[in-house]
């Protein structure tokens, strides 16, 4: 059969410029926004990995982060608030050769899409999820998000937010993600390395990506200075040890609100089967990409007549 998806797996050198739309839409992000850092790191990572733009599906939610795939050249699906993960999961199940990346904001990913986040991590789909964490709702003008610090004031929280922030790394670990890292737009080199690792990882990779919001979190340098936990002698732990990773995450998440920004890889489980492998192992999913079949004229489709004996 002729291959239906020939962009997939094509080996060649890919330039990062290929991921810039030809007729580039003007980004609507504010000057100084951390989202530019994610875009840059993602383009760099895809070029480093030699991915063809047409073998990548980038699914986003709604909000400033949701516009990522408007400025990134690949197949894209700009979904709805919080729903990038169920759409991405299905794309991966439909064609597991596709490189699937989902992106969303902290409100999108940890708030409205929180339930999907738990279950996608639990199922360990082989995909990468980048959460733009700027601790605030940006596009709707500054309301508290699930990661906003306690006491955060806005027009809808005039007395200050009464809620403690969510702990995304710890949440991700307990939900079942098999690769968890935190990086920041202010550290583009680490960010690119981490995205490369996350994409190469065989399972659900969650990146909590700190993106400064110069408009609604007035201090645009909120994530500077940062510390890379892998480079620092002060923090020694084994990323493959769940217990140690968990303790390190807890420390990191507490420290963030005290002004200490710790970034790096926190957890990786290389042994656990991805969801697709698990399903295939159980005979619950085909070995070849399901979508290929629809382009194969020789495939013999079974039909309902094959089952009616049981009803006679």
């Amino acid at each position: 059969m002729s291959k239906a998806f020939s962009a997939i797996g094509e080996e060649r050198d890919v330039e990062r410029d290929e991921f810039t739309p030809g007729l580039e839409p003007q980004p609507t992000w504010c000057p100084g926004c951390g989202d530019f850092g994610v875009l840059k790191a993602l383009k760099g990572a895809m070029a480093e990995l030699g991915k063809d733009p047409e073998e990548v599906l980038l699914c986003t939610g709604i909000g400033c982060s949701g516009k990522l795939n408007s400025y990134f050249e690949s197949y894209g699906f700009h979904t709805i608030h919080g729903r990038s993960l169920p759409v991405s999961r299905a794309a991966k199940l439909a064609n597991h050769d596709l490189e699937v990346v989902a992106a969303g904001g902290d409100g999108d990913g940890y708030g409205i899409g929180g339930n999907h986040f738990l279950h996608t991590a639990r199922e360990n789909h082989d995909m990468t999820y980048i959460v733009f964490n700027n601790e605030v709702f940006g596009l709707t003008k500054g309301q508290s998000s699930p990661t906003s610090p306690k006491g955060h004031k806005s027009k809808t929280q005039p007395k200050g937010n009464a809620k403690d922030p969510i702990r995304p790394l710890s949440l991700s670990l307990s939900a079942g993600a098999s690769y968890i890292a935190r990086t920041a737009a202010v550290n583009p080199n680490q960010a690119q390395e981490i995205i490369v690792e996350a994409i190469e990882h065989d399972g659900f990779s969650h990146i909590d990506f700190l993106t400064q919001c110069p408009t609604w979190n007035k201090d645009a340098k909120q994530y500077v200075p940062y510390v890379d936990v892998q480079d620092s002698d002060d923090y020694e732990f084994d990323v493959h040890d769940r217990q140690e990773a968990s303790e390190m995450m807890y420390e990191t998440e507490s420290a963030l609100y005290e002004g200490t920004v710790l970034t790096g890889r926190y957890y990786e489980d290389e042994d656990r089967r991805s969801y697709q492998q698990e399903k295939q192992h159980r005979g619950d999913m085909p070995e070849e990409p399901l979508a290929e079949r629809y382009f194969d004229d020789d495939y013999e489709w079974e039909r309902s007549y094959d089952f009616i004996d049981r009803h006679k």
């Binding site: 739309p21 516009k67 690949s74 197949y75 709805i80 729903r83 759409v87 399901l290 979508a291 495939y299």
Partner: protein, 628 residues
């Protein structure tokens, strides 16, 4: 009402094996050459409580459950008694006998398990038996089953007793039991069956009810509406289903989940209905024919991904298995009151295609249509049915399902075709072009060379990028709406509406969905009595078949719209699209949790034509057009 029919009701507690027993018995009747129809009534609880299944069998003409029934097998609720304290939960113990008597016809037969039920506990039992000329045969079914090993086999004893009482051979029943079980269990069951049969056969019968004789031309299969839908999806090439369990949609979800893995497909039970529909969107976007579905409350959550599919023009097939609402309503009772919900949910000038099949065969046909339309026109299509149709079994010619598969992805390009497709200066595929003939701009699938584009739930340019340009907005809205006109033309060729009865009749009935068969049966009865009545069963709900419906209403003096809804939703839909016809439409409504019986419809037409009288069921209402 044909005299030559058996309507057998088996009553007991949920969890007592009523379902499996009734299904085997229905198959046995089917194999003996009869047309069968099952009706299942059950409470929203797992074990105990009053439940029954009715099987109607006759030599042809079976389109509904019929009116009442003529044979009661009251097994008793084995869960109604607390074994440790010998106590009874309320009056549930006698329900299988007492609760069913209202619908039992005069001269009917009652077999009850005197091992579990005491007729003396049933108020005025003796008087009622005498008054209605019922024939009562108490049998110790529990004792008989225990004698051969296990109490649970009292179902089998009941079937054996039934066979003896109506003069039915045991051959088919034995064959079916052998298919379902083996070893000692089969042996014991066969012993119970024969023992019960022999014990009863020795008695003298006072009734004259016998199993009708019939002979099919072709081999038959016993299938439900849910099977019709699931099999159509499989034949249409659907290899991805995602869902969250909810009654009664779960029936289709279960059938598909059991079949798909062996067909190289994928079934996903996910965290909620938003995810379920979003997964179907994601899989379809990525090149796999997909389906999701739910019932009222779960479908409410799907409103969001439904709109996403509309805006991104992703083919999507959703099922909505209605039950009585609002909110969680009555989980195990049918209603047709989600009609407006499925037609109008989702924000904006949203649009979708919707079909309302009426029986298992139409479930199959219209689900096939739903897939073809969804993939040809890149539009969501919804199959809406109800709890009744979902679990209602009927016999169908086995050859009906011998269809060619249609796995075609419709308006989807191959890589070769993409080479000649329109691209912008940067090489991006112009996926959402304005200038199309029927409103459909062909799509590509992620991973295809030359097909990259952005699908966005925001309004977008032809390449998919977000746009608020007014000219583009108008062009895109109009193109998307244009699809509906194209779909209507396509559907007209398929002619899915059913005109029934004498074409020149002067009185009309309009119906949709699961009530159509009942209406058709009522039409037959009325015309046999010298009346002049016809019916129109509407299957296309959106885009609405305005011409056909208008023509029908204008061809009669008066018409009644029959639906299971308190707010006349279907009549509202007709009037929205076709006008109010100078007040010639009235409504027959039922929303008490039970479907119509043919006699209720006959009676309503009688009242509407001649005035006066009361409808046979207190909870049925006849609302005239005046005042609307």
């Amino acid at each position: 009402m044909t005299d030559d029919e058996l309507i057998w009701r088996i009553a007991g507690g949920s969890g007592d094996g009523i379902d499996s027993t009734s299904q085997n018995f229905a198959k046995a009747l089917m194999r003996s050459g009869l047309d069968v129809f099952t009706h299942r009534h059950y409470p929203s609880r797992i074990r105990g409580g009053h439940t029954y299944v009715e099987i109607r069998a006759a030599d042809g003409g079976v389109k509904s459950r019929g009116d009442g029934y003529n044979f009661l097998l009251a097994l008793g609720d084995s869960f109604a008694r607390n074994p440790s304290e010998n106590a009874v939960y309320g009056d549930e113990e006698i329900k299988p006998l007492s609760e069913n008597l209202d619908d039992l016809r005069e001269g009917g037969v009652i077999v009850y398990d005197e091992g579990l039920l005491d007729a003396e506990d049933v108020p005025n039992f003796e008087e009622r038996v005498e008054e209605n000329d019922w024939n009562v045969y108490p049998l110790d079914l529990r004792g008989l089953a225990k004698e051969h090993g296990r109490e649970v086999m009292r179902n089998t004893a009941g079937v054996g007793a039934t066979a003896a009482l109506v003069g039915m051979d045991l051959d088919h029943i034995e064959d079916l039991m052998a298919d379902a079980m083996g070893g000692d269990i089969l042996e014991q069951n066969l012993e119970v069956l024969h023992d019960a049969y022999d014990q009863v056969n020795e008695k003298e019968f006072s009734h004259d009810l016998t199993v009708p004789e019939g002979e099919h031309d072709e081999e038959q299969v016993l299938v439900s509406g849910s099977h019709g839908i699931a099999y159509a999806a499989i034949d249409a090439g659907c290899r991805f289903i995602s869902g969250y369990p909810m009654t009664p949609w779960t029936d289709v979800f279960t059938i598909m989940s059991q079949l798909l893995p062996d067909l190289g497909g994928v079934s996903e039970q996910v965290e909620d209905e938003i995810a379920a529909a979003a997964l179907a969107v994601g899989a379809s976007h990525s090149g796999v024919k997909s389906m999701s579905g739910s019932s009222g409350g779960g479908f409410a959550l799907m409103s969001e991904p439904l709109g996403l599919a509309e805006m991104t023009e992703t083919p999507l097939v959703l099922l909505e298995a209605m039950r009585a609402g609002p909110s969680t309503g009555m989980p195990t009772k049918p209603e047709q009151a989600d009609l407006e919900h499925i037609l109008y949910t989702s924000q904006g000038d949203s649009h979708r295609v919707a079909f309302g099949p009426s029986d298992p065969k139409e479930c199959y046909e219209q689900t096939r249509t739903a897939f073809e339309i969804a993939y040809d026109y890149q539009i969501p299509s919804i199959v809406v049915y109800d709890q009744k149709l979902s679990g209602e079994y009927r016999n169908v010619d086995a050859t009906f399902f011998d269809r060619e598969p249609a796995p075609d992805l419709g308006s989807t390009l191959t890589e070769a075709e993409l080479e000649d497709a329109p691209h912008d200066d940067s090489g991006k595929f112009e996926r959402f072009r304005h200038d199309t003939e029927n409103g459909v701009s062909p799509r590509s699938i992620p991973g295809q060379k030359g097909g990259r584009y952005l699908a966005s739930g925001n309004e977008h340019w032809p390449t998919g990028h977000i746009a608020e340009d007014p000219d583009n907005r108008v062009a895109q809205v109009e193109r998307r709406l244009q699809k509906l006109e194209s779909v209507r033309g396509d559907l007209d060729e398929r002619d899915q509406q059913t005109l029934y009865g004498d074409e020149d009749a002067d009185f009309g009935l309009i119906v949709w969905g699961s009530q159509q068969g009942t209406v058709e049966e009522a039409v037959d009865r009325m015309n046999a009595d010298g009346n002049s009545v016809k019916a129109l069963g509407v299957s296309d709900l959106s885009p609405f078949p305005v011409e056909e419906v208008t023509e029908f209403v204008e061809s009669v003096d008066e018409a009644i719209v029959v639906e299971m809804s308190a707010t006349k939703q279907f009549r509202g839909l007709i009037q929205k699209h076709a006008g109010d016809f100078d007040g010639t439409l009235s409504s027959l409504l039922k929303y008490n949790g039970n479907p119509f019986e043919p006699a209720e419809i006959v009676e309503a037409v009688e009242i509407e034509q001649n005035g006066g009288g009361e409808l046979p069921t207190a909870q049925t209402t006849l609302e005239p057009a005046a005042g609307d």
